[in-house]
Symmetry: C2
């Protein structure tokens, strides 16, 4: 059917979508979510939205995605019904509990990347993976398919990488690990993500000290020159299927693709040695040590299949790492530690343990000491500054150069005692309500952490915001929730849930 092309000027989330008038859709014998083939210089498969008013009979409305794929948009385009893709049958097989083989999984992943599968169908596949589970063969197939449907880097025979399963606020460890490892001569092409539900992702933190939106080619040049980089992974087209799966998983809080997601990104950068940090605790993504142990075992097995030597490090995740939460505040803290201007014991211990494990997995002895040495001698700092320069930032940047929000709210102890617990989720909520990660200068600085002695009126932590409106939002939130517990070590009650909840707070607010 020959239809007049109409550019709608709307984006459809990366997927090629056409709008057909109901009349034409009926004429073609196609319903919403069906597929058509657009015959142009190249054939494009698109998913159909049916319009009753907004697109006229005889017209086909195209999304921005299709406009870009077409290049020069023809006045008329031939639209044909397209049969269901094979990948749909494979998704159905997974729904029925059948194990999928590599070829089938590859077809599905390719359908996801090419946009031939609708949101519905992808959501159904992800849900089936969650309920039915996936075994090691399937996880391997998914990882490799995700790698092969994207770009790949090739930076040498031995490439190391690190990853954190995440969930702990203030975790700026990567900002230390990458320069420590590169300073010792290893190759570590680190790609990171931005925050989705957290207060800062590593890419958000790094961006406050240097550009992180770097192309594949530039990245290769940088890594060849200085051994490492700290870039945003989102623009590199590494395992792009992952980003689409994540979008589906997001609101449902499920992540059956956790392992393939981690490992495909690592395989795509050509990693041969990998250390995975699994923060563990009530306030982390992984709650218990036995859960973390099982996850570690699975990650290591999958690593073997993908020919990536993998070690996992279980870390303490009951409270934020270091004293800061929020992109710029965290970058400042990392910079200060690298410059030996500030002593942040838990952050240093964690970074040196992870860097140390990377050293040992690649054959060096006394990894922890080697890592500490890279820090103490300033070689890690020098390496970071070289990296900053190569990525297009100011090599001489100082911690105070990073702007921090000027609106503050002090949270003070109502009574004396000890910090007994910190609620990570509440801390993230407060930092986000104050503007993080969008407002890079927003966040939280702790004066006290778990185990610290507290006197009445001591500042427990300070909230920073760039905009007073957002500080008000954080203030309102703090009236409602209780992110920190101060008391005696023997105090057992966190709070009591009554019919009308009464939260016993151990702090007062002051601006």
């Amino acid at each position: 059917m020959r239809l007049k092309t109409e550019i709608l000027g709307v984006e459809s989330g990366g997927r090629p979508i056409v709008f057909l008038n109901k009349y034409d859709a009926d004429e073609l014998g196609i319903s919403a979510s069906g597929r058509v083939l657009l015959r142009s210089r190249k054939d494009i498969t698109a998913i159909v939205n049916v319009a009753t008013r907004s697109v006229r009979k005889g017209h086909v409305g195209i999304s921005e995605e299709i406009r870009m794929m077409l290049g020069k948009v023809p006045h008329y385009i031939d639209v044909e019904i397209s049969s269901f893709p094979k990948s749909l049958q494979f998704i159905r097989n997974k729904l029925e509990g059948k194990k999928l083989v590599y070829k089938e999984i590859y077809e599905i992943v390719k359908g996801v990347v090419d946009g031939n599968l609708s949101e519905n169908e992808i959501a159904s596949f992800v849900t089936a993976l969650h309920i039915r589970g996936l075994d090691l063969d399937e996880a391997t197939s998914l990882s490799m398919s995700m790698v092969e449907t994207g770009a790949r880097l090739n930076l040498g025979k031995r490439v190391v990488d690190k990853h954190s399963v995440g969930g702990v606020p203030g975790d700026k460890t990567t900002l230390l690990v990458v320069p420590i490892v590169a300073a010792a001569g290893l190759i570590i092409p680190k790609t990171s993500s931005r925050a989705i539900t957290s207060a800062a992702g590593t890419a958000d933190r790094a961006e406050t000290i240097m550009p992180v939106n770097i192309s594949n080619n530039e990245m290769k040049k940088i890594v060849k020159k200085c051994g490492g980089c700290l870039v945003w992974g989102g623009a590199l087209d590494l395992a792009p299927a992952d980003d689409i799966f994540v979008r589906t998983e997001y609101s449902l809080y499920i992540d059956p693709l956790l392992l393939p997601s981690i490992m495909s990104k690592k395989k795509a950068v050509g990693a041969t040695h990998l250390v995975v940090d699994i923060p563990t605790g009530r306030g982390a993504k992984v709650k218990t040590i036995s859960e973390a142990d099982q996850l570690a075992k699975d990650i290591i097995e999958l690593g073997k299949r993908l020919k990536i030597h993998t070690h996992c490090v279980l870390t303490y995740g009951e409270q934020p790492i270091g004293y800061t939460v929020g992109p710029a505040l965290e970058a400042r803290e990392a910079l200060e530690v690298l410059m030996n201007e500030s002593n942040v014991p838990d952050l240093i211990d964690k970074a040196c343990n992870i860097a140390g494990t990377i050293f040992e997995i690649t054959g060096r002895k006394n990894g922890y000491e080697l890592a500490k040495n890279m820090l103490k001698t300033g070689r890690a700092e020098a390496k970071l500054r070289q990296m900053i320069g190569l990525q297009g930032g100011n090599q001489n940047i100082m911690p105070d150069d990073l702007p921090i929000g000027s609106h503050t709210l002090k949270v003070k102890a109502r009574k004396e005692g000890q910090v007994i617990w910190i609620n990570n989720n509440a801390i993230v909520e407060i930092a986000r309500s104050a503007g993080a990660p969008k407002d890079k200068g927003a966040g939280i600085v702790f004066n006290k952490k778990i185990g610290d002695q507290v006197s009445k009126d001591d500042i427990l932590f300070t909230v920073y915001a760039e905009k007073s409106r957002k500080l008000n939002r954080a203030h309102d939130l703090l009236e409602e929730i209780n992110p920190i517990g101060v008391g005696k070590r023997a105090d057992m009650v966190i709070h009591t849930i009554k019919e009308s909840p009464m939260i016993k707070k151990s702090f007062v607010l002051e601006r």
Copy 2:
């Protein structure tokens, strides 16, 4: 956040969708598929699409659905982040295999109808229902929730209805059952659907003899006057959640909501007595008798919970009902039978059995004979003509008044023998390729059915099309597939699948 409203002029499949610029989305702290609250005269919850180019910073693009909900569109609108709806938690619970209670299911169904749940989330729920299954309590809750989130009819203390699980081409039984039942004084407010994957739905058939797009109020008046109606259910807002679930189920070929879908529509029209036809056979939706027996048991149990007295009739579904397939051809055949101008034994038997069961379930004796009597005496025909008049059609319509496609293709026997089998799916494909259900005059007329004796060159069936292009399409398809088997009763082979398939056809084509 106050944003300038921009009418995008696109429809978003019934769901309220806004497009935000990436900058504003980040500022609000929201990702794609997140939800926002639009503050206007009434609050509207909308699902977010993130745009990078097509919507400018400071603007909010609204879909046609939202434009309609807003009525007068304000120049600016306050957009706030909206938290995840409770229903998402309940969907997650189902994913984890937990049984859902009525309140939880109601929240989900309401979220579906109000558009507060995204396509992803609905697909995930439907998939979870398919894999985890749903028990009778959950099916009851789903049915009732679907009823309560839509319109309801109240037409009297005793209202009867019929339903077919479907899957057999040419099934025009309803066109006979409704006038037979109404002629005997029962109330039967029949709503029907249009074809999605078949060659004709009952609404498509009925539409060739009278208007079927009738409002709730008109429908009530018609039923009060003549006891029955034959209308399209799609515009009546009866159990509207069902239509949305069906859209998700469609491409995945799953239908975990089959029972609630059937029963909610019946409950919404106020049915107290129901007969469900379950066509059974290789060419029907339900393949085996034991499968049909189980389904019947479940339907009857659900009926009890919903206070609908239900009987199920298992019928022969190995070949089309009667001699015609396609909207107008089928309507002609039904009209001829009602006028006693044509004898179509299987159609008459099926219609009288189903109408008869309706009579018996409501307390009458000798239902089959009573039904047959309504047919023979012309009372059913008179009732249909009254109905046609009340629905705005021509009461004196004759079978020949229904236009049939003028392009024909005769399918003739290559050799003598007996019709051994008819492939229903292939018949539907041929009828659809010839233009049905869109072209109402397209379809198939059979001269021979299973068991009939065939001589060489006898016409087996004729394909009708309104457009020669579509007849060509049917012709091409017939070169490829084999919809009918002619041979000796003892011939056991249907066809042989070889590396290069060789289909042994028992027909030749003639135009």
